[in-house]
């Protein structure tokens, strides 16, 4: 197990790093390259959005960083250590909210506290006091006050996705992985949740990896957008987004914003032509 110390550069910690990473899926003759010679360095506090044609390996990068997947070749470092070396307690949210139906919304949200240290050590003692308050405070921030005792099936898709964000953030993770979290929601709910997610992010500034198909979503939320080529995926464009925060829906009507999304659209179109 290689352990490297997190290198610092101008006082900023690199929280995740991919070195010449290659991922190959399948066995025998049916293998395909999902990710090829990918290099990527992400600084702590970055909000990285990944866009690209479908099947280009966006989610693969997410899974690599989360330690759910081992690279076929190359190295993945998270918080300076090779992935898998230590429990990092990464927060994760998918398009499917996956709330457990036998638990209340509050119990669902508190689940990470049961697993991630140091919270898990005192879970029994704190679950009805400190942790409960923590969950309720988070629920209030996403506009779900009073829904803590409800069961998942009593909530709408948009409400479940709010709860899902709470569950991903309850343990104040340093890394947050979002795989098309708002993909199944209507436009209005989605835009509302962008603002909420931005507020939550600005509070603790975790490093975020967001996979999305929605270019406006990427431009609204991210501080850095990675455009990926069609399979095998490679990062073809790495663009900083510096609209001032907090961004509002007004921001999305500004010419700089529309120019950016149009640029991204052109790049992805070009990437798809390259198949």
């Amino acid at each position: 197990m290689t352990i490297t110390i997190a290198p610092t550069e101008h006082g900023v910690t690199r929280i995740a790093q991919l070195e010449n990473v290659q991922v190959r899926f399948g066995k025998g003759e049916n293998t395909f390259l999902a990710l090829d010679r990918t290099n990527l360095t992400v600084r702590a506090g970055d909000f990285v959005a990944m866009v690209g044609p479908s099947g280009c390996g966006k989610s693969t990068i997410l899974k690599l960083v989360a330690g759910l997947l081992k690279p076929t070749d190359g190295m993945v470092f998270v918080a300076g250590r090779e992935v898998g070396a230590e429990q990092v307690g990464i927060g994760m949210a998918f398009q499917n909210p996956t709330m457990l139906p036998w638990l209340t919304i509050r119990q669902n949200i508190m689940l990470p506290l049961k697993i991630v240290k140091p919270y898990s050590d005192t879970f029994r003692r704190d679950k009805d006091t400190v942790f409960r308050e923590r969950a309720d405070a988070l629920l209030a921030k996403v506009g779900l006050t009073g829904f803590g005792d409800r069961r998942p099936w009593e909530l709408s898709g948009g409400m479940l996705q709010r709860a899902n964000l709470c569950r991903a953030l309850i343990h104040s993770p340093k890394l947050l992985m979002l795989d098309e979290p708002f993909g199944a929601l209507d436009q209005f709910t989605r835009e509302e949740l962008w603002a909420i997610l931005q507020d939550l992010w600005m509070e603790t500034k975790p490093t975020v990896f967001l996979v999305t198909h929605d270019l406006r979503e990427a431009a609204f939320l991210a501080s850095r957008i990675l455009v990926m080529s069609a399979r095998p995926g490679r990062v073809t464009e790495d663009r900083a987004v510096d609209f001032p925060r907090p961004r509002t829906l007004e921001t999305t009507f500004e010419s700089g914003f529309t120019d950016l999304t149009n640029d991204l659209r052109r790049m992805i179109f070009a990437a798809r032509q390259g198949v």
Partner: protein, 258 residues
């Protein structure tokens, strides 16, 4: 109980009463001989009059069923967990399980009698073998059913295999387990009575065999009624437990039995 549930229960009871009424009327109208098909009123009378003699047999059948079912549950869960926790074990063992479960249980009674003599032991074993497969298959299926995204969420958090099992896999398997218990308890009954009709000197199955050989048809039917009644009671008990333990899987209005 809500008014809607009462109304639903009322409908079920009415259907049963209606069936008996039609049966009674048909017997009278078509002059059906009591040797062929006794009237329900005659059967209930027999059931009531013969109760002192029937009672020990009912207890015997009930006890045999519960012991067989209890053992079947313990062994079934153990086997189900063994098969269900690994995908390989599940795939490997499934054909064997299906093979075993498709053997008609009538065929195993003589073998048990051969091994253990007639009486309670073969009845318990027949009950066990009859009820065990739904439990094994359901527990295994419940454990093998996963939601990959939920597991990813937990693994990213750094959860151990035990934590995933305890927090997600086991609770998710509960509805499968309880659904199988409802079915299994009635099947255990079938197994017990089957064995009793072949080789025993106590139990409702034995009573029915003796009644039919002496052409006491109402008594044979009284035995059937006693069995049906016990079946409904046991099924209801397990349906109630299921509702309490995993109501989340049934949700509100579908709480009616079955």
């Amino acid at each position: 109980m809500s008014s809607m549930q009462i109304r639903e229960n009322l409908k079920s009871v009415s259907l049963i009463v209606l069936m008996f009424v039609l049966w009674e009327v048909a017997c009278v109208l078509f002059h059906i001989s009591p040797i062929v098909l006794p009237r329900p009123s005659a059967i209930f009378t027999t059931l009531f009059v013969q109760m002192p003699a029937l009672w020990p047999n009912i207890l015997q059948t009930l006890a045999t069923t519960m012991v067989g079912f209890g053992l079947g549950m313990v062994i079934g869960v153990a086997l189900g967990v063994f098969v269900g926790v690994s995908r390989t074990a599940y795939k490997t063992a499934y054909p064997l399980l299906v093979g075993f479960s498709s053997i008609p249980k009538v065929a195993v009674v003589p073998i048990f009698v051969l091994w253990f003599g007639s009486g309670t032991v073969p009845a318990v074993l027949t009950a066990l073998t009859t009820c065990i497969f739904p439990i094994v298959v359901n527990v295994a299926t419940g454990l093998a059913t996963t939601e990959p995204e939920m597991e990813d969420v937990l693994k990213a958090l750094g959860a151990t295999r035990m934590q995933v099992l305890w927090n997600v896999t086991l609770p998710r398997a509960m509805p499968y387990f309880f659904a199988s218990l409802k079915v299994a308890v009635t099947l255990a009954f079938v197994g017990t009575v089957l064995s009793e009709t072949v080789a025993s000197n106590l139990g409702i199955g034995t009573v029915m065999m003796m009644a039919s050989s002496s052409f006491d048809v109402p008594l044979a039917f009284a035995g059937l009624f006693a069995l049906a009644f016990l079946g409904i009671v046991l099924y209801s008990i397990f349906a109630l437990i299921e509702q309490r333990v995993c109501g989340w899987a049934i949700r509100k209005q579908d709480l009616a039995m079955g």
